[in-house]
Symmetry: C2
Subunit: 159 residues, 2 copies
DNA sequence: TATTGTTATACTCTATAACTATA
DNA sequence: TATAGTTATAGAGTATAACAATA
């Protein structure tokens, strides 16, 4: 007899097969997030970019000459936390910190050709990872999920 | 003129208003997760339980006499990581480690009356937090989101 | 005074490896 | 040999506070 069955037997008539947790969006969001992030890591390999480095590179490619402060704000992290991310991308020679004429406080982030190529390869790998992981979900389900997640993102309180 | 507009002007005809990231489930999942977890923390207060401690207590209440190994497996974390969680719950006097007759290696986790009361209060606070945070979403949208997140949870590769 | 990038530091969460006591 | 709980340790990822350079 399994432990679960043994526990259930302690309180007859009560369904122990589902926890309160299973009804919580936060709990399900966390568990789903862990699965997807784990698969992302596997897909990009041992020396691949982490999700946050990939995100930073994506935004630098999309918005060349973005400043670190702007990038941090877009990513929802502190400026201080971005330093190590930019350091890594610079060490990989995917971008460089460029001085901006007119404001010597600012560092513009400029992707290199190698950085753009690395991003193109990475985004293909990431799309392949999602296509494979979510192959049991229909396009409609994926679109619905995306829309609902964006709705949650819209609920964020502005600070 | 905004920076985004300035950047868009650099490559006419290309829509820079949306990043590749916005189409990725993983990215949206992460951003949504951060918002919900942050609101969870605010809702439970400065000396409230963290999400993982709340989860552990929930499972202990639901499955009294669960072992630490079983609880770790249910939570998807290592046994070693559970020690600090159980330590905290024991320090709060929400549960106790009980010796099990017949196998002296095992510690059964038994919620106290105070633990059950604390859980009842916490689950109410958590439900209130989700009801408030997701008040712009219909019951149908929330149910759909839950179902899709559970579908992702079902994709986890078994180790 | 305010902002940009940076450093120092600490905290949370997690994992791996090794240990002990039991089985 | 294998398992349950534990400890030591390290690595992400994050935040806060303070600083120098610059505006």
């Amino acid at each position: 007899m399994s432990r679960e069955a043994a526990q259930g037997a302690q309180r007859p008539g009560v369904d122990h097969s589902r926890s309160d947790l299973e009804d919580l969006i936060g709990y399900n969001l966390k568990r789903a997030y862990i699965i997807v992030q784990s698969d992302f890591r596997d897909a990009l390999g041992a020396d691949g970019m982490s999700a946050r480095v990939f995100t930073a590179l994506s935004l630098c490619v999309k918005y060349p000459n973005i400043t670190q402060s702007e990038l941090a704000r877009m990513m929802g992290i502190e400026r201080s936390g971005l330093v190590a991310i930019v350091d890594e991308l610079e060490a990989r020679e995917h971008l460089r910190r460029a001085r901006v004429p007119g404001d010597r406080r600012v560092q513009a982030l400029v992707p290199t050709d190698a950085g753009r190529a690395a991003y193109d390869a990475a985004i293909q790998a990431v799309r392949a990872h999602e296509d494979r992981l979510f192959s049991d979900m229909t396009s409609s389900e994926r679109a619905t999920l995306l829309a609902l997640l964006k709705k949650i993102r819209g609920l964020e309180k502005q600070q």
